[in-house]
Protein backbone atom coordinates (compact mmCIF):
# COMPACT_ATOMS: atom_id res chain seq x y z
CA UNK A 1 0.00 0.00 0.00
CA UNK A 2 1.21 3.46 -0.79
CA UNK A 3 0.49 6.32 1.57
CA UNK A 4 -2.15 8.78 0.35
CA UNK A 5 -0.69 11.58 -1.72
CA UNK A 6 -0.49 14.86 0.08
CA UNK A 7 -0.97 18.21 -1.56
CA UNK A 8 2.03 20.48 -1.63
CA UNK A 9 0.11 22.87 0.49
CA UNK A 10 -0.52 20.34 3.23
CA UNK A 11 3.13 19.46 3.37
CA UNK A 12 4.11 23.08 3.47
CA UNK A 13 1.84 23.80 6.43
CA UNK A 14 3.12 20.82 8.36
CA UNK A 15 6.66 21.76 7.57
CA UNK A 16 6.27 25.25 8.87
CA UNK A 17 4.52 23.98 11.97
CA UNK A 18 7.34 21.59 12.66
CA UNK A 19 9.86 24.30 12.26
CA UNK A 20 8.19 26.17 15.02
CA UNK A 21 10.99 25.35 17.45
CA UNK A 22 9.03 26.03 20.58
CA UNK A 23 6.25 23.66 19.65
CA UNK A 24 8.69 21.01 18.58
CA UNK A 25 10.58 21.34 21.82
CA UNK A 26 7.43 21.18 23.91
CA UNK A 27 6.15 18.08 22.14
CA UNK A 28 9.48 16.34 22.56
CA UNK A 29 9.81 17.32 26.19
CA UNK A 30 6.36 15.97 26.94
CA UNK A 31 7.09 12.74 25.07
CA UNK A 32 10.49 12.34 26.71
CA UNK A 33 9.13 12.55 30.24
CA UNK A 34 6.27 10.22 29.34
CA UNK A 35 8.80 7.70 27.99
CA UNK A 36 11.00 8.10 31.05
CA UNK A 37 8.12 7.89 33.50
CA UNK A 38 7.83 4.10 33.90
CA UNK A 39 11.58 3.66 34.39
CA UNK A 40 12.01 6.64 36.69
CA UNK A 41 8.95 5.70 38.75
CA UNK A 42 10.14 2.13 39.21
CA UNK A 43 13.72 3.15 39.96
CA UNK A 44 12.56 5.80 42.43
CA UNK A 45 10.17 3.55 44.34
CA UNK A 46 12.10 0.29 44.25
CA UNK A 47 15.70 1.54 44.22
CA UNK A 48 16.20 5.18 45.28
CA UNK A 49 13.65 5.13 48.07
CA UNK A 50 15.04 1.88 49.57
CA UNK A 51 18.58 3.32 49.43
CA UNK A 52 17.48 6.35 51.44
CA UNK A 53 15.44 4.11 53.73
CA UNK A 54 18.50 1.90 54.32
CA UNK A 55 20.39 4.88 55.72
CA UNK A 56 17.47 5.70 58.02
CA UNK A 57 16.94 2.08 59.01
CA UNK A 58 20.57 1.96 60.09
CA UNK A 59 19.79 4.54 62.80
CA UNK A 60 17.03 2.39 64.35
CA UNK A 61 16.72 -0.81 66.37
CA UNK A 62 14.28 -2.35 63.87
CA UNK A 63 14.02 -6.04 64.84
CA UNK A 64 11.66 -9.01 64.78
CA UNK A 65 9.20 -7.27 67.11
CA UNK A 66 9.10 -4.27 64.82
CA UNK A 67 8.22 -6.59 61.96
CA UNK A 68 4.95 -7.35 63.76
CA UNK A 69 4.37 -3.88 65.15
CA UNK A 70 6.29 -0.91 63.79
CA UNK A 71 5.37 1.12 66.91
CA UNK A 72 8.19 -0.58 68.75
CA UNK A 73 10.92 0.89 66.51
CA UNK A 74 13.15 3.39 68.27
CA UNK A 75 15.79 5.74 66.96
CA UNK A 76 19.12 4.68 68.36
CA UNK A 77 21.38 7.15 66.61
CA UNK A 78 24.79 5.76 65.87
CA UNK A 79 24.51 2.73 68.14
CA UNK A 80 24.41 0.22 65.24
CA UNK A 81 27.58 1.74 63.86
CA UNK A 82 29.25 1.55 67.29
CA UNK A 83 28.25 -2.10 67.43
CA UNK A 84 29.73 -2.68 63.98
CA UNK A 85 33.03 -1.06 64.91
CA UNK A 86 33.35 -3.14 68.07
CA UNK A 87 31.99 -6.39 66.66
CA UNK A 88 34.69 -9.03 66.09
CA UNK A 89 32.37 -10.80 63.67
CA UNK A 90 32.00 -7.71 61.46
CA UNK A 91 35.76 -7.18 61.38
CA UNK A 92 36.25 -10.83 60.54
CA UNK A 93 33.75 -10.50 57.68
CA UNK A 94 35.50 -7.30 56.59
CA UNK A 95 38.91 -9.00 56.57
CA UNK A 96 37.52 -12.04 54.73
CA UNK A 97 35.88 -9.85 52.10
CA UNK A 98 39.05 -7.77 51.64
CA UNK A 99 41.14 -10.91 51.32
CA UNK A 100 38.70 -12.25 48.74
CA UNK A 101 38.57 -8.99 46.79
CA UNK A 102 42.23 -7.94 46.96
CA UNK A 103 43.55 -11.39 46.10
CA UNK A 104 40.69 -12.69 43.95
CA UNK A 105 40.05 -9.46 42.03
CA UNK A 106 43.57 -8.91 40.67
CA UNK A 107 43.97 -12.66 40.11
CA UNK A 108 40.75 -12.68 38.10
CA UNK A 109 41.93 -9.74 35.99
CA UNK A 110 45.30 -11.41 35.38
CA UNK A 111 43.68 -14.68 34.32
CA UNK A 112 41.32 -12.72 32.05
CA UNK A 113 44.24 -10.83 30.51
CA UNK A 114 46.19 -14.04 29.92
CA UNK A 115 43.13 -15.69 28.35
CA UNK A 116 42.46 -12.63 26.18
CA UNK A 117 46.06 -12.56 24.93
CA UNK A 118 45.96 -16.28 24.14
CA UNK A 119 42.64 -16.14 22.31
CA UNK A 120 43.56 -12.96 20.46
CA UNK A 121 47.08 -14.06 19.45
CA UNK A 122 47.64 -13.93 15.71
CA UNK A 123 48.62 -17.58 15.46
CA UNK A 124 45.56 -18.83 17.33
CA UNK A 125 43.27 -21.09 15.35
CA UNK A 126 39.58 -21.74 16.12
CA UNK A 127 39.31 -18.37 17.87
CA UNK A 128 35.49 -18.33 18.14
CA UNK A 129 35.54 -21.85 19.61
CA UNK A 130 38.06 -21.02 22.34
CA UNK A 131 36.35 -17.73 23.06
CA UNK A 132 32.98 -19.41 23.60
CA UNK A 133 34.39 -22.22 25.70
CA UNK A 134 36.33 -19.89 27.99
CA UNK A 135 33.31 -17.62 28.33
CA UNK A 136 30.95 -20.48 29.16
CA UNK A 137 31.46 -20.53 32.97
CA UNK A 138 30.30 -16.91 33.11
CA UNK A 139 26.79 -17.70 31.88
CA UNK A 140 26.23 -20.60 34.28
CA UNK A 141 24.16 -20.39 37.44
CA UNK A 142 26.40 -19.50 40.38
CA UNK A 143 24.45 -21.59 42.88
CA UNK A 144 24.58 -24.68 40.68
CA UNK A 145 28.28 -24.47 39.93
CA UNK A 146 29.08 -23.72 43.57
CA UNK A 147 27.41 -27.02 44.43
CA UNK A 148 29.44 -28.76 41.74
CA UNK A 149 32.67 -27.27 43.09
CA UNK A 150 31.74 -28.34 46.60
CA UNK A 151 32.02 -31.94 45.39
CA UNK A 152 35.17 -31.24 43.35
CA UNK A 153 36.71 -30.06 46.63
CA UNK A 154 35.74 -33.22 48.52
CA UNK A 155 38.82 -34.16 50.57
CA UNK A 156 38.52 -37.90 49.81
CA UNK A 157 36.67 -38.31 46.52
CA UNK A 158 37.07 -34.89 44.96
CA UNK A 159 38.48 -34.50 41.48
CA UNK A 160 40.85 -31.73 42.56
CA UNK A 161 42.64 -33.75 45.24
CA UNK A 162 42.87 -36.65 42.81
CA UNK A 163 44.61 -34.40 40.27
CA UNK A 164 46.90 -33.00 42.98
CA UNK A 165 47.55 -36.52 44.28
CA UNK A 166 48.64 -37.70 40.86
CA UNK A 167 51.49 -35.17 40.96
CA UNK A 168 52.30 -36.03 44.57
CA UNK A 169 50.54 -33.14 46.34
CA UNK A 170 47.84 -33.02 49.00
CA UNK A 171 45.35 -34.17 50.00
CA UNK A 172 43.98 -30.79 51.07
CA UNK A 173 40.80 -30.45 53.13
CA UNK A 174 39.70 -27.52 50.97
CA UNK A 175 36.42 -26.44 52.49
CA UNK A 176 37.02 -27.95 55.91
CA UNK A 177 40.05 -25.91 56.90
CA UNK A 178 40.01 -22.21 57.81
CA UNK A 179 43.24 -21.75 55.85
CA UNK A 180 42.09 -23.23 52.56
CA UNK A 181 38.38 -22.40 52.47
CA UNK A 182 38.88 -18.83 51.23
CA UNK A 183 41.45 -19.74 48.56
CA UNK A 184 39.02 -22.43 47.40
CA UNK A 185 36.24 -19.86 47.10
CA UNK A 186 38.56 -17.47 45.27
CA UNK A 187 39.32 -20.20 42.74
CA UNK A 188 35.60 -20.75 42.10
CA UNK A 189 34.99 -17.02 41.67
CA UNK A 190 37.91 -16.65 39.27
CA UNK A 191 36.75 -19.69 37.27
CA UNK A 192 33.19 -18.36 37.12
CA UNK A 193 34.00 -14.76 36.28
CA UNK A 194 37.13 -14.49 34.13
CA UNK A 195 35.28 -14.99 30.83
CA UNK A 196 33.49 -11.67 31.00
CA UNK A 197 36.65 -9.63 31.51
CA UNK A 198 38.33 -11.72 28.85
CA UNK A 199 35.75 -10.58 26.27
CA UNK A 200 36.08 -6.95 27.31
CA UNK A 201 39.88 -7.17 27.09
CA UNK A 202 39.72 -8.88 23.67
CA UNK A 203 37.64 -5.94 22.44
CA UNK A 204 40.25 -3.62 23.95
CA UNK A 205 43.10 -5.49 22.28
CA UNK A 206 41.37 -5.40 18.91
CA UNK A 207 40.94 -1.64 19.12
CA UNK A 208 44.72 -1.11 19.24
CA UNK A 209 45.82 0.02 15.74
CA UNK A 210 47.92 -2.59 13.97
CA UNK A 211 50.35 0.08 12.60
CA UNK A 212 51.70 0.65 16.10
CA UNK A 213 52.92 -2.94 16.21
CA UNK A 214 54.26 -2.74 12.67
CA UNK A 215 56.23 0.38 13.48
CA UNK A 216 57.60 -1.25 16.64
CA UNK A 217 58.64 -4.36 14.71
CA UNK A 218 60.44 -2.18 12.16
CA UNK A 219 62.31 -0.65 15.07
CA UNK A 220 63.28 -4.15 16.13
CA UNK A 221 61.05 -4.49 19.18
CA UNK A 222 60.52 -8.07 20.38
CA UNK A 223 57.23 -9.60 21.51
CA UNK A 224 57.76 -8.65 25.16
CA UNK A 225 58.73 -5.08 24.31
CA UNK A 226 55.67 -4.72 22.10
CA UNK A 227 53.51 -6.00 24.95
CA UNK A 228 55.18 -3.76 27.51
CA UNK A 229 55.28 -0.54 25.47
CA UNK A 230 52.22 -0.80 23.21
CA UNK A 231 49.68 -3.32 24.46
CA UNK A 232 49.74 -2.40 28.16
CA UNK A 233 49.60 1.40 27.77
CA UNK A 234 46.91 1.20 25.07
CA UNK A 235 44.90 -1.16 27.22
CA UNK A 236 44.92 1.12 30.26
CA UNK A 237 41.36 2.53 29.91
CA UNK A 238 39.97 -0.97 29.43
CA UNK A 239 41.97 -2.22 32.42
CA UNK A 240 40.58 0.60 34.55
CA UNK A 241 37.02 -0.36 33.62
CA UNK A 242 37.68 -4.06 34.15
CA UNK A 243 39.49 -3.45 37.43
CA UNK A 244 36.71 -1.37 38.91
CA UNK A 245 33.79 -3.61 37.95
CA UNK A 246 35.71 -6.66 39.12
CA UNK A 247 36.51 -5.18 42.54
CA UNK A 248 32.94 -3.92 42.98
CA UNK A 249 31.64 -7.36 42.07
CA UNK A 250 34.06 -9.18 44.37
CA UNK A 251 33.05 -7.07 47.36
CA UNK A 252 29.52 -8.44 46.93
CA UNK A 253 30.56 -12.04 47.65
CA UNK A 254 27.58 -14.06 48.84
CA UNK A 255 26.37 -17.19 47.01
CA UNK A 256 29.64 -19.15 47.04
CA UNK A 257 30.08 -19.16 50.83
CA UNK A 258 26.32 -19.48 51.38
CA UNK A 259 26.22 -22.69 49.36
CA UNK A 260 29.70 -24.12 49.92
CA UNK A 261 30.67 -23.31 53.50
CA UNK A 262 27.81 -21.44 55.20
CA UNK A 263 30.46 -18.91 56.13
CA UNK A 264 32.67 -21.42 57.94
CA UNK A 265 34.81 -23.11 59.01
CA UNK A 266 35.37 -20.88 62.03
CA UNK A 267 33.74 -18.00 60.13
CA UNK A 268 36.71 -17.90 57.75
CA UNK A 269 34.48 -17.36 54.69
CA UNK A 270 31.77 -15.14 56.16
CA UNK A 271 31.52 -12.13 53.85
CA UNK A 272 29.94 -8.75 54.54
CA UNK A 273 26.88 -9.56 52.41
CA UNK A 274 26.50 -12.96 54.07
CA UNK A 275 26.66 -11.23 57.45
CA UNK A 276 24.05 -8.73 56.31
CA UNK A 277 21.81 -11.55 55.10
CA UNK A 278 22.12 -13.52 58.32
CA UNK A 279 21.58 -10.53 60.61
CA UNK A 280 18.73 -9.11 58.54
CA UNK A 281 16.84 -12.08 57.20
CA UNK A 282 17.68 -14.89 59.60
CA UNK A 283 17.71 -13.02 62.94
CA UNK A 284 15.61 -10.11 61.63
CA UNK A 285 17.91 -7.53 63.22
CA UNK A 286 17.14 -5.27 60.28
CA UNK A 287 18.38 -2.02 61.78
CA UNK A 288 21.79 -3.51 62.42
CA UNK A 289 21.83 -5.27 59.04
CA UNK A 290 21.01 -1.98 57.30
CA UNK A 291 24.03 -0.41 58.99
CA UNK A 292 26.15 -3.29 57.68
CA UNK A 293 24.76 -2.65 54.17
CA UNK A 294 25.62 1.05 54.43
CA UNK A 295 29.13 0.10 55.56
CA UNK A 296 29.44 -2.11 52.48
CA UNK A 297 28.35 0.79 50.28
CA UNK A 298 30.93 3.11 51.84
CA UNK A 299 33.69 0.52 51.44
CA UNK A 300 32.85 -0.09 47.77
CA UNK A 301 32.67 3.65 47.12
CA UNK A 302 36.08 4.26 48.72
CA UNK A 303 37.71 1.38 46.84
CA UNK A 304 36.27 2.63 43.54
CA UNK A 305 37.45 6.19 44.10
CA UNK A 306 40.92 5.17 45.24
CA UNK A 307 41.29 2.77 42.34
CA UNK A 308 40.20 5.39 39.84
CA UNK A 309 42.72 7.87 41.21
CA UNK A 310 45.61 5.42 41.43
CA UNK A 311 45.10 4.07 37.93
CA UNK A 312 44.69 7.53 36.42
CA UNK A 313 47.87 8.79 38.00
CA UNK A 314 49.97 5.75 37.23
CA UNK A 315 50.80 6.73 33.67
Amino acid sequence: MTPPMRTTREIATRYSALHDEAQLGRAQTRAAWAFLFPAIALISVFFALPVIAAFLLGFTDFDIYALADTETVRLTGLRNYETILTSPLFWQAFRNTCLFAFVGGPLSVLVSLAAALLVNARATRFKPFFRSVLFMPFVTTLVAVSIVWRYLYHPQYGLLNWVLGSVGLGPVDWLGSPTWAMPAIILVAVWKGFGYNMLVLIAGLQSIPEDLYEAARLDGAGAWQQFRHITLPMLRPTMLFVGIITMVGFFQLFAEPYVMTQGGPLRSTTSIVLLMFEEGFRWWRMGYAAAVAVALFVIILLVTLVQRRVQREAV
Partner: protein, 272 residues
Amino acid sequence: MKRFGSVLLHVALVCAAIFALAPMLWMLSASFMPTGAANVYPPPLIPKNPTLEHYRTLFGQLAIGRYMFNSAVIATSATLLSLLVNSLAGYAIAKLRFRGRDSVHKIMGAALLIPVQVTMLPLFLLLKQFGLVNSYWGAIIPSIATIFGIFLIRQYALGIPDDLLDAARMDGASEFRIYWSVVLPVIRPILATLAIWTFLASWNDFLWPLVVLTDDARYTLPVALASLSGEHVQDTELMMAGAVVTVFPVVVVFLMLQRAYVQGVMVGSVKG
Protein backbone atom coordinates in the same frame (compact mmCIF):
# COMPACT_ATOMS: atom_id res chain seq x y z
CA MET B 1 60.93 -21.58 16.55
CA LYS B 2 57.76 -20.02 15.22
CA ARG B 3 56.16 -23.45 14.93
CA PHE B 4 57.19 -24.29 18.50
CA GLY B 5 55.59 -21.07 19.75
CA SER B 6 52.36 -21.88 18.00
CA VAL B 7 52.25 -25.38 19.53
CA LEU B 8 52.88 -23.92 22.99
CA LEU B 9 50.11 -21.37 22.44
CA HIS B 10 47.60 -24.06 21.55
CA VAL B 11 48.65 -26.28 24.45
CA ALA B 12 47.97 -23.34 26.77
CA LEU B 13 44.59 -22.73 25.11
CA VAL B 14 43.58 -26.37 25.44
CA CYS B 15 44.60 -26.35 29.13
CA ALA B 16 42.50 -23.24 29.68
CA ALA B 17 39.56 -24.84 27.88
CA ILE B 18 39.84 -27.94 30.09
CA PHE B 19 39.95 -25.73 33.18
CA ALA B 20 36.79 -23.96 32.00
CA LEU B 21 34.86 -27.05 30.98
CA ALA B 22 35.99 -29.79 33.38
CA PRO B 23 33.65 -28.90 36.26
CA MET B 24 30.65 -28.85 33.93
CA LEU B 25 31.59 -32.08 32.16
CA TRP B 26 32.06 -33.82 35.49
CA MET B 27 28.71 -32.48 36.66
CA LEU B 28 27.04 -33.93 33.56
CA SER B 29 28.84 -37.24 33.87
CA ALA B 30 28.21 -37.71 37.60
CA SER B 31 24.51 -36.95 37.15
CA PHE B 32 24.17 -40.22 35.21
CA MET B 33 25.96 -42.35 37.82
CA PRO B 34 23.99 -44.61 40.16
CA THR B 35 23.73 -43.43 43.78
CA GLY B 36 27.09 -43.64 45.53
CA ALA B 37 29.10 -44.36 42.37
CA ALA B 38 30.74 -40.92 42.35
CA ASN B 39 32.02 -41.27 45.91
CA VAL B 40 34.88 -43.66 45.32
CA TYR B 41 38.60 -43.19 44.86
CA PRO B 42 39.86 -42.58 42.25
CA PRO B 43 36.86 -40.52 41.15
CA PRO B 44 35.26 -42.08 38.05
CA LEU B 45 35.17 -39.74 35.06
CA ILE B 46 32.58 -41.63 33.03
CA PRO B 47 29.51 -43.46 34.37
CA LYS B 48 29.97 -47.25 34.09
CA ASN B 49 26.25 -48.00 34.37
CA PRO B 50 24.54 -44.81 33.23
CA THR B 51 21.12 -44.23 34.76
CA LEU B 52 18.41 -41.61 34.63
CA GLU B 53 17.19 -42.38 38.16
CA HIS B 54 18.22 -38.99 39.56
CA TYR B 55 16.37 -37.09 36.87
CA ARG B 56 13.33 -39.25 37.60
CA THR B 57 13.62 -38.47 41.32
CA LEU B 58 14.02 -34.75 40.60
CA PHE B 59 11.00 -34.46 38.35
CA GLY B 60 8.92 -37.00 40.27
CA GLN B 61 9.40 -37.02 44.03
CA LEU B 62 11.14 -33.64 44.32
CA ALA B 63 8.85 -31.87 41.81
CA ILE B 64 11.64 -29.78 40.31
CA GLY B 65 9.34 -29.01 37.37
CA ARG B 66 7.51 -26.63 39.67
CA TYR B 67 10.68 -24.62 40.35
CA MET B 68 11.56 -24.63 36.70
CA PHE B 69 8.13 -23.19 35.95
CA ASN B 70 8.61 -20.47 38.60
CA SER B 71 12.02 -19.57 37.19
CA ALA B 72 10.66 -19.48 33.65
CA VAL B 73 7.68 -17.27 34.57
CA ILE B 74 9.82 -14.84 36.57
CA ALA B 75 12.63 -14.63 34.01
CA THR B 76 10.27 -14.26 31.04
CA SER B 77 8.12 -11.57 32.64
CA ALA B 78 11.17 -9.65 33.85
CA THR B 79 12.62 -9.80 30.34
CA LEU B 80 9.51 -8.60 28.50
CA LEU B 81 8.80 -5.77 30.94
CA SER B 82 12.41 -4.64 31.05
CA LEU B 83 12.54 -4.50 27.25
CA LEU B 84 9.59 -2.11 27.12
CA VAL B 85 10.52 0.09 30.08
CA ASN B 86 14.26 0.33 29.38
CA SER B 87 13.92 0.87 25.64
CA LEU B 88 11.47 3.75 26.17
CA ALA B 89 13.80 5.41 28.68
CA GLY B 90 17.04 4.66 26.83
CA TYR B 91 15.68 6.01 23.55
CA ALA B 92 14.33 9.15 25.25
CA ILE B 93 17.71 9.93 26.83
CA ALA B 94 19.56 9.24 23.60
CA LYS B 95 17.44 11.00 21.01
CA LEU B 96 14.79 13.31 22.44
CA ARG B 97 15.74 16.90 23.19
CA PHE B 98 14.46 18.04 26.55
CA ARG B 99 15.60 20.02 29.52
CA GLY B 100 17.06 17.91 32.30
CA ARG B 101 18.32 15.20 29.97
CA ASP B 102 21.93 15.54 31.10
CA SER B 103 20.93 15.55 34.76
CA VAL B 104 18.90 12.36 34.35
CA HIS B 105 21.84 10.72 32.62
CA LYS B 106 24.33 11.88 35.26
CA ILE B 107 22.20 10.85 38.23
CA MET B 108 21.72 7.40 36.74
CA GLY B 109 25.45 7.08 36.15
CA ALA B 110 26.19 7.96 39.75
CA ALA B 111 23.54 5.51 41.00
CA LEU B 112 25.46 2.71 39.27
CA LEU B 113 27.94 2.92 42.15
CA ILE B 114 25.34 1.83 44.72
CA PRO B 115 25.46 -1.92 45.39
CA VAL B 116 22.01 -3.44 45.07
CA GLN B 117 22.32 -5.17 48.45
CA VAL B 118 21.86 -1.79 50.13
CA THR B 119 18.26 -1.69 48.93
CA MET B 120 17.28 -5.17 50.03
CA LEU B 121 16.20 -4.70 53.65
CA PRO B 122 13.94 -1.67 53.02
CA LEU B 123 12.72 -3.17 49.75
CA PHE B 124 11.65 -6.28 51.61
CA LEU B 125 9.72 -4.19 54.14
CA LEU B 126 8.19 -2.12 51.35
CA LEU B 127 7.03 -5.16 49.40
CA LYS B 128 5.67 -6.62 52.62
CA GLN B 129 3.48 -3.51 52.93
CA PHE B 130 2.25 -4.06 49.37
CA GLY B 131 1.63 -7.75 50.09
CA LEU B 132 4.15 -8.72 47.40
CA VAL B 133 6.50 -10.81 49.54
CA ASN B 134 6.42 -14.42 48.37
CA SER B 135 4.85 -13.50 45.02
CA TYR B 136 6.18 -13.59 41.48
CA TRP B 137 5.86 -9.82 41.34
CA GLY B 138 8.12 -9.45 44.34
CA ALA B 139 10.84 -11.32 42.49
CA ILE B 140 10.24 -9.52 39.18
CA ILE B 141 9.88 -5.87 40.20
CA PRO B 142 13.52 -4.97 40.97
CA SER B 143 14.74 -6.27 37.60
CA ILE B 144 12.28 -4.37 35.36
CA ALA B 145 13.84 -0.90 35.18
CA THR B 146 17.62 -1.19 35.30
CA ILE B 147 20.24 1.46 34.72
CA PHE B 148 22.36 -1.11 32.90
CA GLY B 149 19.47 -1.73 30.49
CA ILE B 150 18.76 1.96 29.96
CA PHE B 151 22.43 2.70 29.25
CA LEU B 152 22.73 -0.26 26.91
CA ILE B 153 19.78 0.96 24.83
CA ARG B 154 20.92 4.58 24.98
CA GLN B 155 24.40 3.71 23.71
CA TYR B 156 22.92 1.96 20.69
CA ALA B 157 20.12 4.44 20.06
CA LEU B 158 22.65 7.29 19.83
CA GLY B 159 23.49 5.87 16.41
CA ILE B 160 19.97 6.40 14.99
CA PRO B 161 20.19 9.21 12.42
CA ASP B 162 18.15 12.29 13.40
CA ASP B 163 16.94 12.62 9.81
CA LEU B 164 15.06 9.36 10.12
CA LEU B 165 13.15 10.61 13.16
CA ASP B 166 12.56 14.09 11.71
CA ALA B 167 11.21 12.58 8.51
CA ALA B 168 8.68 10.61 10.53
CA ARG B 169 7.78 13.77 12.47
CA MET B 170 7.21 15.61 9.23
CA ASP B 171 4.82 12.89 8.19
CA GLY B 172 2.88 13.79 11.31
CA ALA B 173 3.69 10.66 13.32
CA SER B 174 3.27 11.01 17.08
CA GLU B 175 6.36 10.52 19.26
CA PHE B 176 5.04 7.19 20.51
CA ARG B 177 4.30 6.09 16.96
CA ILE B 178 7.88 6.97 16.02
CA TYR B 179 9.22 4.96 18.95
CA TRP B 180 7.04 1.99 18.10
CA SER B 181 7.33 1.83 14.30
CA VAL B 182 10.65 3.52 13.56
CA VAL B 183 12.91 3.17 16.59
CA LEU B 184 12.05 -0.34 17.79
CA PRO B 185 12.79 -2.01 14.43
CA VAL B 186 16.08 -0.13 14.15
CA ILE B 187 17.31 -1.08 17.64
CA ARG B 188 16.24 -4.71 17.36
CA PRO B 189 19.80 -6.09 17.70
CA ILE B 190 20.34 -4.39 21.05
CA LEU B 191 16.88 -5.45 22.22
CA ALA B 192 17.92 -9.04 21.60
CA THR B 193 21.06 -8.42 23.64
CA LEU B 194 19.15 -6.87 26.51
CA ALA B 195 16.60 -9.68 26.41
CA ILE B 196 19.24 -12.39 26.78
CA TRP B 197 21.10 -10.54 29.53
CA THR B 198 17.95 -9.91 31.51
CA PHE B 199 16.71 -13.45 31.07
CA LEU B 200 19.97 -15.05 32.15
CA ALA B 201 20.53 -12.60 35.02
CA SER B 202 17.03 -13.27 36.31
CA TRP B 203 17.33 -17.05 35.87
CA ASN B 204 20.69 -17.11 37.67
CA ASP B 205 19.82 -14.61 40.40
CA PHE B 206 20.02 -15.94 43.92
CA LEU B 207 20.13 -13.45 46.80
CA TRP B 208 16.96 -11.50 46.05
CA PRO B 209 14.73 -14.52 45.27
CA LEU B 210 16.11 -16.16 48.41
CA VAL B 211 14.99 -13.14 50.41
CA VAL B 212 11.62 -12.46 48.84
CA LEU B 213 10.32 -15.96 48.06
CA THR B 214 9.63 -17.40 51.48
CA ASP B 215 7.42 -20.34 50.56
CA ASP B 216 8.81 -23.51 49.02
CA ALA B 217 6.12 -23.54 46.30
CA ARG B 218 7.39 -20.21 44.89
CA TYR B 219 11.12 -21.00 44.90
CA THR B 220 13.11 -20.44 41.72
CA LEU B 221 15.54 -23.15 40.62
CA PRO B 222 18.66 -21.71 42.29
CA VAL B 223 16.84 -21.17 45.59
CA ALA B 224 15.32 -24.65 45.47
CA LEU B 225 18.68 -26.14 44.55
CA ALA B 226 20.45 -24.44 47.45
CA SER B 227 17.79 -25.68 49.83
CA LEU B 228 17.92 -29.23 48.40
CA SER B 229 21.70 -29.27 48.66
CA GLY B 230 21.37 -28.75 52.40
CA GLU B 231 19.08 -31.77 52.80
CA HIS B 232 20.86 -34.03 50.33
CA VAL B 233 24.51 -33.25 51.05
CA GLN B 234 25.50 -36.91 50.66
CA ASP B 235 23.62 -37.51 47.40
CA THR B 236 26.34 -36.30 45.05
CA GLU B 237 24.79 -37.73 41.89
CA LEU B 238 21.32 -36.36 42.65
CA MET B 239 22.72 -32.88 43.28
CA MET B 240 24.69 -33.02 40.04
CA ALA B 241 21.49 -33.84 38.18
CA GLY B 242 19.85 -30.85 39.90
CA ALA B 243 22.74 -28.63 38.83
CA VAL B 244 22.46 -29.90 35.25
CA VAL B 245 18.74 -29.09 35.16
CA THR B 246 19.49 -25.57 36.40
CA VAL B 247 22.45 -24.82 34.16
CA PHE B 248 21.29 -26.58 31.00
CA PRO B 249 18.67 -24.00 29.90
CA VAL B 250 21.06 -21.05 30.24
CA VAL B 251 23.88 -22.79 28.42
CA VAL B 252 21.51 -23.66 25.57
CA VAL B 253 20.22 -20.07 25.38
CA PHE B 254 23.80 -18.81 25.37
CA LEU B 255 24.98 -21.19 22.66
CA MET B 256 22.01 -20.35 20.45
CA LEU B 257 22.21 -16.59 20.88
CA GLN B 258 25.91 -16.05 21.55
CA ARG B 259 26.38 -13.26 19.11
CA ALA B 260 23.73 -11.05 20.68
CA TYR B 261 24.96 -11.90 24.17
CA VAL B 262 28.57 -11.00 23.42
CA GLN B 263 27.41 -7.71 21.91
CA GLY B 264 26.20 -6.78 25.40
CA VAL B 265 29.70 -7.17 26.80
CA MET B 266 31.14 -4.94 24.11
CA VAL B 267 28.55 -2.17 24.35
CA GLY B 268 28.38 -2.47 28.13
CA SER B 269 32.08 -1.87 28.41
CA VAL B 270 31.95 1.40 26.51
CA LYS B 271 31.78 4.21 28.99
CA GLY B 272 28.22 5.62 29.05
